[in-house]
Every structure is written in C-alpha cells, then in structure tokens.
Symmetry: C2
Subunit: 345 residues, 2 copies
Amino acid sequence: MSTVTLIGAGQMASALTFPLFENGHEVRLVGSPLDDDIMARLREDNYHVNLLRTLHDGIHYYNCSQVKEAIDGADLIVCGISSFGVDWFADEILPILNEDVPLISVTKGMLDYEDGTMQTYPEYWQTKLPEGSKLRIYAIGGPCTARDLADHDPSFVGYCGPDFETLEWIRDIFQTDYYIISLTLDVVGLECAVALKNGYALGTALAVGIKEKLGDDGINHNNMKAALFQESVKEMLDLLYLVGGGAENIMFAAGDLDVTVSAGRSRTVGLLLGKGYTIEETLEQLKGQTLEAVVIATRTARAVKALAKRGRVSEDDFPLLMHVNELLNEGKTLDIPWKKFQKKM
Amino acid sequence: MSTVTLIGAGQMASALTFPLFENGHEVRLVGSPLDDDIMARLREDNYHVNLLRTLHDGIHYYNCSQVKEAIDGADLIVCGISSFGVDWFADEILPILNEDVPLISVTKGMLDYEDGTMQTYPEYWQTKLPEGSKLRIYAIGGPCTARDLADHDPSFVGYCGPDFETLEWIRDIFQTDYYIISLTLDVVGLECAVALKNGYALGTALAVGIKEKLGDDGINHNNMKAALFQESVKEMLDLLYLVGGGAENIMFAAGDLDVTVSAGRSRTVGLLLGKGYTIEETLEQLKGQTLEAVVIATRTARAVKALAKRGRVSEDDFPLLMHVNELLNEGKTLDIPWKKFQKKM
C-alpha cells in the first residue's frame, strides 16, 4: 500500500481516486484555491458537485492551506489542476515538494513561445524547479473522461516520463482491470498528442453542429465528420513530427480525438460554432465553464503561424487548424476549406 | 469532357456517378453478373434499389454482356465490383481492357498468402495482366459511404497509383466541391490502411454493442469505445509498417475507422458480437448481405499469425485483432483482453 496525494480536486483528479482507493492505497485529495465548494460538499457526504459522482468513503480531504500536511509522507504526488493553474502549481507547490517523491501530472495542455516552440507542462515545470532539484516529473495522457472512469468504464491511457522503472511502479499503483495503462518515455510525443487533440476535437465537432443545424434532412453526414476526423489525424501527425514526438503517439491523439468529439466541452464549442454561432455567442452560452480547448487551439495555431514565418512549415499544410483559429480569434464565419484538404503525399 | 466506364453497379460505383455526371462527363455504368435486379430498375427510372437513391438521368446503363461496347472509347475505366468479384474481374475484364486506358479501382480489401504476405488488389491484378500489358492500375481509398456521397455530403478520400501525372488527371475528372481527393504514390499504404480498418471497425464496434446490451445504465461508455479506437489505431499503424506502407496513411485508416464505426455492415457485425451473439447468430441475422469485414479481418489475422510463426511479429502485439479473430473463427465468446492492451512503447 502506498500513500498518494492528489493536488487539485477537479473532475479528473477526483476520478483517479477510484482506481487508487480500490487498489488499497491511502488517498489524499487536496483542493486547489478554486475548489472550496467541491471540498465542502466532499467532506459532507463524499459527493463531488462537478463530477456528479460519490467518491469512496475513506478518502482523506485537505484544503489548500493543509497541502504540506497532505504531502508529508506521500509516496507519489499527482498534479490534478486544470491548465489554468499551471503557474500556481509551479509557484506554490513545486517548491515544497520532496525531490525524492515522483510527481505525475494529469493536466493536459501546452505552452507556446514567440518563435513557435511548443512546450509541454512537464518540460515547463522542469524549468521552474528549485536549483539542483532532482524531482522527476511524469504525466498522464490519452482518452479518458473523468465520469466514465469514475463509473468503471474500461479506459485505456498512456503514462510517460523519464524512466521505465518508476513508470512501472506508478502503473502498479494505478492500474486496475478497468483502467489500463501503456508506458512511454516519449513525454513530448504523448503530451503534445493529447494537447493537440483539443483544437482538432473542436474542428471535428463542427460536423456535429452542421448536422444538427441541418436537422432531419435524410442525410447521415458521416462522411463529413470522417473527413474532418481524417484531416485532423493528418495535421496532428505533422505536428507530432514537428515537435519531435514519435508517430506511434498518433494512437493517443486519435483515441483522445474520438472520445472528445463524443463528449465534453471541446465538442460543445465546435458544435456551437458548427451551428453557426460566433465565438462570442458560443462563449456566452458556455459562461462559467473552463474552455481549455479554445486556449490550446489558439496556442497551437499561433505556434504554427510563428513556425511558418520562420519557414519551417506552411500554414497551407494545416487548413483545418487555421480555420478553427479564424473562428476563434479572427471573427470569421464558418466556411470549412474542404478543397484545401487535398494534398499530394 | 471524358468518357468514364464504371464496371460493377454496386452502391459505391453508382454513388461515384454523381460527381462524374455533375462534372459533365459521359458516364457508363455496367452491371456485373450479380447486378441484374439493380440494372433492371435503373433502366426503368434511375432508382438504385440498394443505394436507395435516384441516379442522374442521362447515365448510360449496360448489362454485363455489353461490357465491350461500354469500354469502347472510354478514357477511364473504374472497377466498382465488391471484393468477392476480384477474380471475376481478373478473368473476364482485365483481358479485354485497352492497356492505354487507365483503370482505377474502388474495391476495398486485400489477399493474404501462406507466408503471411498481404497483397492489395491493384498488386494482385498487376500479376494477372496479359503478358507485356502496360495497363496502369490506380485505386481509391478513404472514408466515404456511398449514400453520403450520393447525398453530396462533403467527402474526403485518397487516390493512389504509380504516377502523379495520371492521378492529377483522374482527380480533375472526379473532384467536385463536395468530393475532395488527396493523391499518393503509396498504393500499398493507402490500400492496406483502408482494408485493415475493416477488422478494426468490427473490433471498435464491439463497444457499441456492449453499450447497447447494458442499456440505460447511466454510463456514457465513451472511454470504452475510445479505448478500442485507440488500440485499433496502434495495431493498424504497426500493420502499415509491416506491409511497408508509410505512417502518413494512418490518416486514411483512422478516418475510415471513424466512418465505418458510425455506419455500415462492419459496424453491425461488431455491434451484434458486442451484444453477445455468436458469429453464427450474427451471420444468420445479416443473411443475404455481403460481409467483407469478416473476410478481411480473417485474412489480416491469418497473415499476422503466419508472420508470427516466421518470427517477424508477435501475436501479443495485436490483441484486439486476435480477439476479433477468436470471435469470428474460433468459437470464442466476447471477452475483450483489456490488460493485453498495455504496452511499453
């Protein structure tokens, strides 16, 4: 039995308590500064007001102010904050972590820089560690909605990090018969694959919105969705090569694309844009929800544009991403550039 | 304006008459020996009894006995037979074709040999050409259901063959604003990608059947489907490498997987097996339908087993395909080997 401390009590971190607790570990769940309402109710009856599921009785709850107590004696730390808390985590949590205790992050996303460099959060946090710290950072990616995981639906994800020895130890802590974990040392590949999928889930879900808007016209419109899915996989593979990730990570990108187009907020943004709403109207309808897909799609498009300026890629090779960016950031109306999808390969 | 002769009047060949006719070409549609009922009704009022759509008025219909007349003066021949007619096409049609007129095939599938070699139909037909024939064979792959194409839903496919010059000429003949075509010289890659997807569409659709059987249990089961989708993409990429196809063709495999899991007979086979029916019960329910997915999944699994015997691969690297094969050919009951999906990459 190990002691596992999860920092951030959002849906995914909280869903991860299911396999952890069922594997017999001591599970400590720490609310971030944004999680006060969640924690209050959890302490009452273990019900998670966003996940809409009741956690196992026996999980130890901590408020943010108790984080030092929560990490004391832990064998593994899990970062479960949203991508909007990445700097908070760097500033407030990284400095107090024991460098001998591995950290694994389930936060999906990435940063972009003016020269077009895309950076994963594990890489970013590595630069933020106290001087000389030997803290090893691992990460979780792949298609896994929190609610399905909490419901024990079979889920298949990827864990990545700097060495297989610790990864196998972490897998033993998490894996159950319904939560299956592949391991890879390709942190950039896995993390970028699952970050990139955000913009493309939004792009593919445009077809869902277009179909909904057309209503019952007697047409299945499966070809349209598959066309966007196919173009997404093509552009994601090109981006994977661009960041130096291995082609095999396209499995995570495609799997995560499938699940994200089926459910979730990225789907909803794409769906509303596909129905013809402007981005302002879309955001208005989704007020109060964290929309990581919008941020990450914007970052990816910005990186491609920066790389294109440097002559490393051509914007023409990413017509779907560019159109998503036009919808999100340039006030353009929906007009999928189908003809631009044609290529010579 | 060109003259295009389609041989085989099944759903896909007939759907292709829409872009061809709308682009102003003379379109000749030749029924195979199995298409007599289809042709009789088409001659009456252009209604296609399997496609369930009315073709454009002005298409020229030919019965099989008139095939020589139909190909006389054609600029392009399209092979639109099902995979069960591959040998008929080799024996009856190839010998009478003009070697200077390109042939493009929309027949999806592949053959396997005792040593585990997988062979695309264009490669197979190349071996069947009359001695010295210079006939060039091109092929069509990618996610495109016939009915959606007939309904002018945006569709995005791949055309492959030995040279870009003719491919671009063929694209000009077919492409419309709703039918978008990428080109590749990687015939093995594209054709295997879209053939392989059959077994995996069946494998991924197991989740659809399991969900249907569980009924309204309050669980979305999106993770389960994405897990199978992800494992499918992984195994398809490995198989692509194995046959010498380029990784970029995974876009076609994944796109085609998406559309096939959404609709079609491969989905139905997987769905019924997922609901717990035996393969015998499943085939009984689908009596009278051509089930190419079953044949192609069987061939793919047989090839992997043969290659495993020769030490070139391990069956353990294809757990989903192996389980699909157990369901189809070894009388096993449904028991998805989730744990076997875990890998070190």
